[in-house]
């Protein structure tokens, strides 16, 4: 079980690298969806025999949301847009990957400093969560396309979710569902706005949004 958890965590890290390296918005959406599913499955793997019905329900809700609902919303926003490829991001893809590589030891050092052991076999969870968070931020800073920025936001959210797992922090069910609902609503609203951006400017690049200054 422990190796399995470790593999899941490393896959999460790899999805982050994939996020940094892919130029296609649709690929980013699918990758972040996969990341969400991996993280939703993680508590089921780490808790071994102590799986409760509530945990399964939560994994199902969160997995469904991140695997189907959110990608659907985002893919809908890219439809019809020439969102296939981002040609000139603020920071290139290779550079992004190398920046990501530089963030890895940082996240590891920070995660260790926190001293969160996490559940059994998942002592790398806190560093991986921090890494995901940082990668999400990096994407938000480095990219232009509205949908890719939302993907960055989702990666951040995934990182925070993973951080919650590392703390073995059980929020009350109501709050957890509230958080999921908020994430859903955020992506829904952002997807809508992205569609409006596309309609208004015929592109999803947000560098056209630059008339407000001062």
């Amino acid at each position: 079980m422990e190796t399995f958890a470790e593999v899941l965590i490393i896959l999460v890290v790899l999805t982050n690298l994939k996020l940094l390296g892919s130029s296609r918005a649709t690929a980013c959406i699918r990758t972040v969806a996969a990341q969400g599913v991996l993280l939703a499955a993680l508590p089921l793997v780490t808790s071994g025999d102590a799986i409760t019905l509530r945990m399964i329900a939560q994994a199902l809700v969160s997995g469904t949301l991140k695997a189907f609902v959110l990608p659907f919303l985002l893919l809908r926003a890219t439809r019809g847009a020439r969102a296939g490829r981002e040609l000139a991001p603020f920071v290139g893809y290779t550079t992004s990957i190398l920046l990501g590589v530089a963030l890895m030891p940082l996240a590891l050092a920070l995660g260790r400093k926190l001293g969160v052991t996490g559940p059994a076999g998942a002592d790398l969870l806190a560093p991986a969560a921090l890494f995901t968070l940082l990668v999400g931020l990096l994407i938000i800073v480095c990219r232009k396309q509205a949908v890719t920025l939302v993907v960055g936001y989702l990666a951040m959210e995934n990182g925070i979710y993973a951080m919650g797992l590392a703390f073995a922090q059980r929020e009350p069910l109501l709050v957890e569902m509230g958080i999921l609902l908020d994430v859903f609503a955020a992506v829904f609203v952002m997807g809508l706005v992205a569609r409006h951006i596309h309609r208004e400017f015929d592109t999803l690049d947000t560098d056209r949004l630059s008339s407000l200054k001062g």
Binding site: T3, V13, I97, L98, V101, R112
Partner: protein, 308 residues
């Protein structure tokens, strides 16, 4: 130095060109052609060796040195390259650096020779080769470092000897898989294979490795081809070592590595048949991924060992 160790070296020298032949044959099969005989690379080498060489007046001795350095470097790397169960002809602490440096020396020679011609195409090829190598080499070194950290050994033979199937289940064992993936990418890039370079291309603008050899002819070209084949073998042992970690007797190990190399050639042929080449601008991305995998593996193995 056992007899088997010497034998391995001799086998490598003898069979290296065969691997290209196997890969080409597999590709031909996928394309529905009969394809050239498996031994075609040998015929080519023999043909080239019989020819004379023409040297442009603009070239100097550097141009003639290049192919020799290419073969010498690759051969030197082969000496420490581990095979079946992690036995190399020579093994000493830190030979992983020697391995990388020998390959770098080979590349250095080829690049210098290409630049010496003063031709635009060769200069372009040299520039690309240097760029991609600058990204591939760190991946190789960091990956080796990760393996060294995981096994606690400092020689290639020791590292590959420590690779057992049981190792994968241990904490940090996933790191080995990551290194294997990174080495796979490095292997394809360094040997000018798809998706980085297309060995079959006839368009100079898209060439990388082949572009550097455009002005070479006769024995020089034969040396370059032979050097490339040796490099294929040397890097191939690193990849095949993951696939066939055999620790029994020397002869089973020998059989294992031969089988591994053969499988690797077939795999390269299959991969080249089903993959498309990456756009040149995307290649650094691909190599950066290998680098990221290696760094991640290093961090993981360091973390598993409890150091930092």
């Amino acid at each position: 130095m056992s007899a088997a160790a010497i034998l391995h070296l001799l086998i490598a020298f003898a069979l290296a060109p065969l691997m290209t032949g196997v890969a080409n044959r597999v590709k031909a099969g996928f394309a529905g052609r009969t394809g050239a005989p498996v031994l075609q690379p040998y015929y080519d080498l023999a043909r080239l060796l019989r020819k004379g060489a023409v040297y442009s007046t603009t070239t100097t001795w550097v141009f003639r040195l290049g192919p020799c350095l290419g073969v010498a470097g690759a051969a030197a790397a082969l000496v420490v390259a581990p095979w079946g169960g992690g036995r190399a002809t020579l093994a000493f602490d830190g030979d992983l650096l020697f391995f990388a440096a020998a390959l770098a020396l080979a590349r250095f020679g080829t690049i210098l020779a290409a630049l010496d011609t003063g031709s635009a195409f060769e200069g372009m090829g040299a520039s690309r080769e240097a760029t991609f190598a600058a990204l591939a080499e760190p991946s190789l070194l960091v990956g080796l470092l990760a393996l060294a950290r995981a096994s606690g050994e400092l020689s290639l033979s020791g590292i590959y000897h420590a690779l057992t199937p049981g190792h994968l289940a241990a904490p940090g064992g996933v790191a080995v898989l990551l290194v294997a993936a990174a080495f796979g990418i490095v292997f394809l890039a360094e040997n000018a294979r798809l998706p980085v370079d297309d060995p079959n291309t006839h368009l100079e603008l898209t060439m990388i490795h082949e572009a550097m050899a455009l002005d070479h002819g006769g024995p020089d070209l034969a040396l370059i081809h032979y050097g490339a084949a040796l490099k294929f073998w040397a890097l191939g042992t690193l990849v095949a070592g993951f696939v066939a970690p055999v620790h029994d007797g020397a002869w089973t190990a020998l059989a294992a590595i031969l089988g591994g190399m053969f499988l690797l050639s077939v795999a390269v042929g299959v991969a080249e048949s089903v993959m498309a080449r990456l756009r040149l601008a995307k290649v650094p991305n691909f190599l950066a991924a290998a680098f990221a995998l290696s760094v991640l593996a290093l961090l993981l193995s360091a973390h598993a060992k409890g150091g930092s």
